[in-house]
Symmetry: C2
């Protein structure tokens, strides 16, 4: 059985699918691409059991096919080829021969055998009657924006698996994205998106990271089920397992009565925080905010190395003078991910209560709310 | 005692000197910058005992000074500052206070104490009478070119310390650079450079790597002694310890009677080698060259994974048909470092003898000769 494909087209295809190939896995079979040809359509897929990627390309084939090909070796070979036609010959005794105008390359392929099944969703969304399913189309740039704003706050702690992903919550107001690790929380509502089915899905971090790479322009379709979500883009489909745990009740931790408002320029605050991180103790990472009506003094000290720093920046503050401590790294990450917001409002109550951080003005179609837990100053 | 300096000027200065600060060292004192002020000239130096870097800047000071300042912390602070004036105040009880328009930063400094002495050479080359000393001026780009062509072949084997650097050999014909690890050798003669003193110096790899970063345009002065070389550039001086071992007699391994000449296009050969590396066995890295009068077939095989490849490229060959094996990684590195040479001549004798590789035409002021040991085909 033979098929022909252009090297550069194949390279692009493999490049899209390769991120799902696990680098270290106890299941060596996952180190392969699945190559399937049906009626001159080559579909290449890869999976690490959590996420799968799938992409297709028209080829000239004299039959159908379904085999496993060593992913890294094939990808590396194709990447180093110039723009040429590759003729694939799939022979018995597991030899896959690739021939170009320059040379001949022989790989061992294997049968599809015990490769795990990759879940699939019907192309036409034909599960409308099933209450567990949903389908929604969104702008790629909207999802990308939402994931960029939220994903940094995802927990790395395997003890709390529910928090190791971003919550996608469909509500009557729109699609809400929530991420938290217990120290900070980001809650972003995209009003433009709505779906009839009102459900919650926790998308694991790996899928978020791959999505951030493959999302660019245009629209995509999300297919939702109880156990999986598929993101179908123009030329690639990502299917991810969902985290099957209950997401914590994040709304109960969002304080309602933080009446002291502090307005500050994002870039000024971040510039100071970056320097103060250098002085914060490597264990606590603590910085102190001493807030007055028109300025914040930000300070940090590492007594182990005998170094300290303090800086003053302008703010507009309506409340009682207050000293409050934060983990400088969390403040910095939060500011880095609200980079497009010129000014932020901090809503405070007292040095032990969660602080709300919001943009002075939300974009028309969003509501962004961040939450930061303070740290104790006297330890 | 106080001095003032512009933050961006200081940042550039520290950036030049920082590469000499060791990242891990059993001597914590080396993790400092030496700050010396004499008559409003600030000189900052750092050393890892092998190499030292030194650079100066005019400042406004009310006295002289000689202290140690934590290198990484100071560099990190200065890097994050905007363009401003920093006022340094050196107080008793080891406190160094930096004040800007934005804030105040306090570091602990220490006395110069047991910081190792950095060797120095007289500015005016005033050691002409001493036969052990020499001074030479060269174009920075010439040295950079020579080090780029040779340094990749330096040995990493601590058992053969003499080969862990690049040999600088002053000869009546010019300045010769040699590097070898026993598997390959590069020998580059720069005819433009000459010096009366005819000596050999082995410059360690770390110094070479730093030189490659700091060399750019203009001239530099090399001061030579038995134990150290100093490279004095426009705004920085690198002083390196020399490797105090005898360099092997490289000329005895350069074959004289390799009469079979093979001419090949560098880029074509390299493109093939890169693909064949993927098929070469991870232990031996072996590729086979099957050479005929007008073509080379390059092939490799990894029987462990059942993969193999072969390609044919054009050549002009005058000798008997020959099969010869090489370490593909060594061939690739050699080709990568002769990238500016369009065509190369391989001079061969038989499959067990060293192969000479030379450009078809040398640049006017250079003679470049590379040597590659073959590997056995039947193991």
């Amino acid at each position: 059985m033979e098929f022909k494909v252009n090297s550069k087209e194949l390279e692009k295809l493999l490049n899209r699918v390769f991120p799902a190939v696990p680098t270290r896995t106890p299941m060596p079979v996952l180190e392969n691409f699945v190559f399937e040809i049906n009626d001159n359509l080559l579909t290449v897929s890869a999976s690490d059991l959590e996420i799968s990627l799938k992409s297709s390309l028209g080829v000239v084939a004299d039959g159908n096919l379904s085999i496993l090909v060593p992913a890294k070796l094939l990808y590396d070979i194709v990447r180093t080829l110039h723009d040429t036609t590759i003729n694939f010959e799939v022979a018995d005794h597991k030899k896959l021969t690739m021939t170009t105008d320059k040379g001949e390359y022989i790989l061992s392929y294997t049968d599809i055998g015990d490769y795990p099944e990759i879940p699939s969703f019907p192309e036409d969304g034909s599960f409308e009657d099933d209450p567990d399913y949903g389908q929604i189309s969104l702008k790629s740039e909207d999802l990308k924006y939402a994931l960029e704003k939220t994903s940094f706050a995802v927990s790395k702690e395997e003890m709390r698996p529910a928090m190791m992903g971003v919550l996608f919550e469909f509500t009557p107001d729109g699609l809400r994205f929530v991420a938290t690790d217990g120290h900070r929380l980001v809650n972003l509502l995209l009003k433009s998106a709505s779906v009839e089915n009102q459900s919650r899905y926790i998308v694991p971090e790996k899928a978020i990271n791959v999505l951030l790479k493959i999302l660019n322009e245009g629209e995509f379709t999300m297919n939702l089920s109880k156990t999986h979500i598929s993101f179908r883009l123009e030329n690639i489909e990502l299917i991810t397992r969902l985290i099957a745990h209950k997401y914590p009740d994040y709304s109960s931790v969002i304080p309602m009565e933080n009446e002291f408002k502090m307005k500050v320029k994002t870039s000024e605050l971040q510039s100071s925080i970056k320097r103060m991180m250098l002085f914060s103790h490597s264990n606590t990472r603590r910085v102190k905010f001493s807030i007055n009506s028109d300025s914040i003094e930000i300070s940090a000290e590492d007594i182990d190395i005998g170094a300290s720093g303090r800086e003053k920046i302008f703010c507009e503050y309506s409340g009682e003078a207050m000293e409050i401590g934060f983990n400088s790294q969390y403040v910095n990450e939060m500011l880095a991910h609200s980079g497009s917001e010129e000014e932020l409002i901090f809503s405070l109550q007292n040095p032990t209560k969660a602080v709300l951080v919001e943009p002075v003005e939300n974009r028309e179609d969003q509501e962004l709310l961040m939450l930061l837990m303070p740290v104790r100053l006297n330890t």
